[in-house]
């Protein structure tokens, strides 16, 4: 029997006290597409990064074509014919596609882009790509960049291709195209690994599935012999029926009225185009959409952090006059009880300061209260204690820098702080990014509590299953436009998914 393209034996990797991979053994074979399935944070990417030379394993062995190897750098990985396409493309923006091809190739001398372009065209024809060698990367769309990445790996003679969540940023059409190309490469005898947490992709594309859960390899199945339910069970450990308590909103009170909101970014692209919606106290308004189609700008626009045109009318507690928020400073908007917590990809960037301790991070919201020039440090410290206790944050104490906590605990603090300020509009984006199921549920419950308290909750999420279960209404964004507002109780994730990808007829369902 032919040796496996790559064989992993008992690979282990730890980051500080976190075990990212625990004795993972796995085989990757030629002429086969392997899906590496797992939730966010289950260690899929870490595992593959050890193959591509980004991380070095703490223990275990790697065999390529039956021989034990040491992969100490990406260069070693290349030499072994392993190419990885990362979620954040490893391309140099200011260079052209052709220039990116030859980066790091051990050839000295003159740069001849013509020769490179010719070779690229050959590869493109063989597998069915379409790339302009002389186009600069910064002028390319996401899907074009991904294509360049794949061509680059082939250009360098990769025999094993690893793709990290390749469809996360693609439209359905682009996804289809990518899958076709991957199948072509499989026929050509290449070994392909695709990292994903999307079951439909696994079923559609792969020959074999390896499932990781919390860094442990829990299952290795032939795709044709399994089904989504079995895979889900393996992935999450126990059979989950998403069962988020969703109370009916009794008397929705209008809190926010957004009209004709438009936003143009620095490059002159219209990222928000005539957005209209209302948000009510006592309901959760979900916002769905493929990443980067205006969610961030919308929330930041409401919070006063992004320049927008149009009107955002805020309705304060009963009796007081409605107010226009557009044009007010972020501080004034915060003081009115409109709060935003945004969890960016690095989890810390906005909202928390990694080098400050818990108490000081709590202060971010409250430090400016009162007239005294001195900052009140006692209240935030008490609040920190309270959040730690109530949300079961695992930390040695409140005087520990936030960056030393694990992702889930960091997010609990972020959300806990926003909630503690008892906002009348709570906007939360990607609050469960990278969290395990249990912690996610804690956070969903927190948002539900706020809803029941009468706050208007606006929740931007990635997981459609959750949106459909959690939200009273779902606003779907597509390319900066509202492609529909759906009733959360009477919709399916298929319907949401459809609206996310196409601009079908406007669909309005009254709340």
């Amino acid at each position: 029997m032919e040796a496996a393209a790559i064989q992993l034996k008992n690979l282990t990797k730890t980051f500080g006290s976190v075990v990212a991979n625990d004795k993972v053994s796995l085989e990757i074979r030629h002429g086969e597409i392997l899906a590496l399935l797992g939730e966010n944070g289950s260690g899929k990417t870490t595992l593959m990064n050890m193959l591509s030379g980004i991380y070095y394993p703490d223990g275990g062995e790697i065999f390529v074509n039956g021989k034990e190897v040491i992969i100490d750098s990406p260069r070693d990985a290349f030499d072994l014919g392993i190419g990885m396409i990362h979620q954040h493309f490893k391309l140099v923006d200011v260079l052209t596609a052709a220039e990116n091809m030859v980066l790091g190739i051990k050839e000295k001398g003159r740069l001849n882009t013509k020769v490179i372009g010719e070779k690229m065209r050959e590869i493109c024809e063989q597998y069915g790509f379409n790339v302009d060698p002389d186009k600069k990367i910064y002028d390319m769309s996401v899907s074009e960049k991904q294509t360049v990445e794949i061509v680059k790996m082939l250009y360098r003679g990769a025999e094993t291709l690893i793709l990290d969540e390749p469809t996360a940023v693609l439209t359905p059409q682009e996804t289809e195209k990518l899958f076709a190309v991957l199948r072509n490469m499989k026929k050509d005898g290449k070994a392909i690994v695709i990292i994903t947490h999307k079951l439909n992709e696994v079923m559609e594309l792969s020959d074999r599935v390896a499932v990781l859960r919390k860094g442990i390899h829990v299952g290795d199945l032939v795709t044709a012999e399994t089904n989504p339910q079995e895979l889900t069970n393996l992935m999450v450990g126990h059979s989950v029926t998403l069962n988020i308590e969703r109370t009916l909103c009794e008397k929705p009170v209008k809190k926010l009225e957004v009209r004709c909101l438009c936003c143009t970014n620095d490059d002159g692209v219209k990222v928000l185009d005539n957005i209209n919606f209302d948000a009510f106290g006592g309901e959760v308004l979900g916002i769905a959409g493929i990443s980067g189609c205006g969610q961030k700008e919308l929330l930041e626009g409401i919070a006063g952090l992004q320049k927008v045109t149009g009107s955002i009318i805020f309705y304060p507690e009963d009796g007081k006059q409605p107010e226009e928020l557009n044009g007010k400073s972020p501080m004034e908007i915060i003081k009115r009880g409109v709060s935003l917590s945004f969890v960016p990809e690095d989890r810390l960037g906005m909202g928390l300061i990694g080098n400050m301790d818990l108490a000081d991070n709590m202060m971010l919201r409250s430090y400016n209260k009162g007239k005294s020039p001195f900052a009140d440090r006692k209240t935030p410290a008490e609040l920190a204690e309270k959040v730690v206790e109530e949300l079961e944050v695992v930390t040695p104490g409140i005087d520990v820098p936030v960056r030393n906590l694990s992702g889930g605990n960091v997010q609990k603090i972020l959300v806990g702080r926003e909630i503690a300020s008892e906002p009348s509009v709570l906007m939360s984006a990607y609050a469960v990014r990278g969290l395990d199921i249990n912690t996610s549920y804690t956070i969903y419950n927190l948002m539900n509590e706020q809803k029941n308290r009468g706050a208007a909750v606006i929740y931007v999420g990635e997981d459609l299953d959750v949106l459909v279960e959690l939200c009273d209404r779902i606003l779907v964004l597509c390319d900066g436009k509202v492609s529909g507002i759906l009733d959360g109780r009477n919709t399916t994730k298929e319907e949401v998914g459809l609206l996310m990808t196409s601009l079908g007829g406007e669909k309005e369902v009254s709340a």
């Binding site: 980051f15 591509s52 980004i54 991380y55 070095y56 750098s73 990406p74 260069r75 990985a77 290349f78 030499d79 990885m84 990362h86 490893k90 391309l91 140099v92 923006d93 200011v94 260079l95 220039e99 030859v102 980066l103 790091g104 190739i105 050839e107 000295k108 001398g109 003159r110 740069l111 600069k136 910064y138």
Partner: protein, 327 residues
Amino acid sequence: MDTLLNFIVAAVLAATPLLFGALGEIITEKSGNLNLGVEGMMFMGGVAGLAGTYYYEKAVGEPNAVVSMIIGVVCAFLCAMFGAFIYSFLTITLRANQNVTGLALTTFGTGFGNFFGEIMGNAAGGYVSVGTVIKAAFDEGIPVLKDIPVIGKLLFDYNFMVYLALGLTIILAYFLSKTKTGLNLRAVGESPATADAAGINVTLYKYLATCIGGGISGLGGLYIVMNSANGTGGVWVHNSISGYGWLAVAIVIFATWSPVKALICSLVIGSLSVIPYYYQIPFIHSAIYEIFPYIATVAVLIIMIFRKKKSNLPPASLGLAYFREER
């Protein structure tokens, strides 16, 4: 006409040390290292070049012009490179803050230059000075050709370091845009993670670029110490190099990291610094002239705000340390 000719010649002479400093810093910054220690490395280069030629003269008695040129350049280059190596070790291997390390290198290099300059002076009983042959080696133009009327003075009457700077400009421009190694270097400065993933030895590139860049910057110091038209003429003068290093760093920004544009910018700043000696400007006190280059620098810093094109931006990872496993 004569004034104009003299003015142009003086401007070129004044521009050369700045150009050396800027060229070195361009190479350094292309690798993503913001080395603010240019001034310190110029001091180190200057004092080492002077020491090399001075002790060579002392050893042989009758120095040869060409040999002294080579000794001066090599000593200056190596010593400044040593400064850049300290910087590289701290920022690349030990991941220290680039800004502060650069400033520390300036403090250290300035002290280093002054200290050894004065030590040599003490040993020589007063001040250190090289003889006429070496002075001429760093001052005189190309024999025969320089005697052609007008053209000779305009093109051939510069000391060898002017032509060295010019040659370096062309080589660097070619290297950065037309060779694979140059391409790799740009990738390292733009996105070390990408370069690393592409199999480029990021650490090696950063070290080499920073050290070679530092060496080139150091030649600017040598020029100031050895040249008599625009420097001290083979004598160590306390703090004589002060200010040049910072102007060089500024030029790198105006030149948008392009060697050819650095040449032009150096000429502009150089001519600003010599203009008062050739042309009287009404209503402005002569003492104010001295701050022209600095005012121009501030002005350009402000102008730069309004021309942000993708191709004009600094290397994207400039000033950031790279650690592959950082999470």
